[in-house]
Symmetry: C2
């Protein structure tokens, strides 16, 4: 038996930034003190900076789904007409949330692996001028597809609807001009590009969204955006904050700022490009070939091979945890992540491992081929 380092290489939780983990050791701190308020204020300011928005930014002790829930329960009213883009498991989650709160949804569904076309959103908006909101995933983590949130945002901005973007895996992996593109609500989570453990959700809210919220009539208590905004202005959270995670976030945001958000995005884009070229050279098919995002690349398992075998052997042979398909895609695709504390060395090792696993399971590939593709992309990118 060889040493097999446990490597967390999934699209969330993502590989963790060690100094952020170390910072959690300082959580013997009370949250209603000036010491903690300093940390909390810095996190909110740094989040605003790296998200690159003038909108308000709030933080919750919750997973990303909590912020998704909050955006519906705080801003909308029962029976509101909304448009929901469904391109995978997380689009289905938007659909389920708006249904739970009794909104009247037009659901635009495309097959897994594709993205909802902008024209379809435009048509739906034109068909229903009373539409109050459009919901989408910037990056649909379950399939690796990305939506054209720029074009969608500009289209929604022309209407009275607000544009609600789940950017949980989009933030830090794709350019998102929140203010320029009219992304009224943008949701993020700690366990993604922010490279810390799960437990914190983020949300930016535009003036247009706040305005809609004024007439919202849905019940809510824990997730109270107005209250949270007021608390945040005072350097506090409304309820007990997840102090250890906030200490970790503070450290991770320092790192993200030191790299620069544009470079963090480029890191994901280069890793994604390298992965796509490696897949091509290995004769593998990309699952979301028409609209591939940079948070994660979904690859179809070779004919006759269950992708669960690939996932299992990554673990059993190399100690690495990679993502299978979710739901109906389980066994059909596997996913290589590009976000969090994830670098080219991780990718080189993953591709070398993948080649071995493919060879060992009846899909012969020349050893080193995928790695060489990734090396080429690195060398091209490093020249610039």
């Amino acid at each position: 038996m060889f040493i097999k380092k446990q490597r967390l290489l999934t699209p969330g939780p993502t590989p963790l930034y060690p100094p952020a983990l170390h910072a959690m050791m300082a959580s013997d701190m009370h949250h209603r003190t000036e010491d903690f308020r300093k940390v909390y204020r810095a996190c909110l300011a740094d989040l605003k900076e790296v998200m690159g928005t003038a909108n308000d930014v709030l933080m919750f002790a919750a997973s990303g789904t909590g912020a998704m829930d909050a955006s519906v329960s705080n801003l909308f009213s029962k029976g509101d007409k909304v448009i929901v883009c469904v391109a995978g498991k997380f689009g289905e989650r938007w659909r389920d949330i708006v249904k739970a709160y009794g909104l009247d949804a037009t659901v635009l569904t495309v097959p897994y692996g594709q993205a909802v076309p902008v024209a379809q959103v435009e048509a739906a908006l034109a068909a229903e001028p009373a539409t109050k909101g459009v919901f989408v995933q910037a990056s649909e983590t379950s399939t690796g597809a990305a939506h054209d949130v720029r074009a969608m945002g500009l289209a929604v901005a022309k209407t009275d609807a607000i544009f609600v973007v789940d950017a949980i895996t989009g933030l830090g992996t794709m350019p998102l001009d929140i203010d320029g593109w009219g992304l009224d609500v943008v949701i993020g989570g700690s366990q993604k590009a922010f490279m810390i453990p799960p437990g914190l959700a983020f949300m930016s809210i535009s003036p247009k969204a706040w305005k809609l919220g004024e007439t919202g009539n849905l019940p809510h208590y824990y997730f109270n955006l107005k209250k949270e905004k007021k608390s945040g202005d005072a350097g506090e959270s409304s309820w007990t904050p997840a102090t250890s995670l906030i200490l970790a976030l503070g450290e991770a945001l320092k790192y993200v700022k030191s790299i620069g958000m544009a470079e963090l995005i480029q890191n994901a884009e280069m890793l994604a490009r390298a992965t796509r070229l490696a897949a091509e050279r290995l004769g593998l098919e990309l699952f979301s070939a028409s609209s591939p995002g940079s948070s994660v690349t979904a690859i179809t398992a070779p004919a006759g091979m269950d992708s669960s075998v690939i996932v299992k052997e990554f673990r059993s042979r190399f100690g690495s945890i990679i993502a299978n398909g979710q739901g109906e895609m389980k066994g059909k695709i596997f996913r290589i992540a590009h976000l969090g504390y994830f670098d080219f060395s991780d990718l080189f090792a993953m591709l070398a491992s993948l080649e071995i696993i493919l060879n060992a399971n009846g899909y012969p590939v020349p050893l080193g081929t995928g790695v060489a593709a990734a090396q080429e992309v690195y060398m091209q990118a490093a020249k610039k």
Copy 2:
């Protein structure tokens, strides 16, 4: 700028085992309590088990050099005739220690990159029947060469001399039958195959060595083997122990036992074999080609290339810290380590990085070639 994870990939300190680091957080513990004695006793018992010896095993709050010093100051007498094998920087350290204590040393020196032949030790023993000790490195970390400690041990066992083996990088990377081969004193350190930070040294002592120590007349205080043995039997250390490191060691030893010492050694041997084949395929020369060890592989930089460039670019391009040559070898060789918490994924990434660095510095190699060599070795080994 890409994300570049800081990766500690040197032959000591070696890559660290995370659960061992986490265990250090429990050091709010007093060392003169039964709680701590339990941990200390378990460490001594587990060390004895993984070293595979019936000899006494002691532990010191010191680096490995401290235990080397202790073996001389506790067991020998001024003017004692000894033989010192010098095949690199650590052999020179033995030479300096015995000189510092006034022993009368016959120094057997070979050029860096070679190992002292057993015949030379046998001849020196035959030439001086009053020899009290023979000093050697199992693995000479500065050059990557390994000594034939089995043959040397069997030769020394026929005489009245004791055989003192610096196995600081040898333990866990090469078979060492301490009792069967007559390795009277074997020295280890925490920051090597034990995959925790520096600060602890280990030593096994045979009855023959204890006997020699009875007549030893050299001054010593902190390093007192007899006192330490008595303390250890009571589950304590003579002086204040490095509690955090001992907690880490306890966790690391559990892991080493779960893998098995033979498999840990095989891990290093396979990584070393893969590295040698990769070097060959890349047209690179091994520095210690005649007697390569498995703790670290020293590779000669291509003609006209300073190995410091390779080391620097590993850091600047990929965040990885690898070892340059030491002393006179600096700039001429670089060293790829195989010990500590080090696995094939690390090696795949290192070789992919090395290929890029070679290409970028005027030594073109086909991308993926070295990686493919390592993949082949993995696949051969995994079949068994």
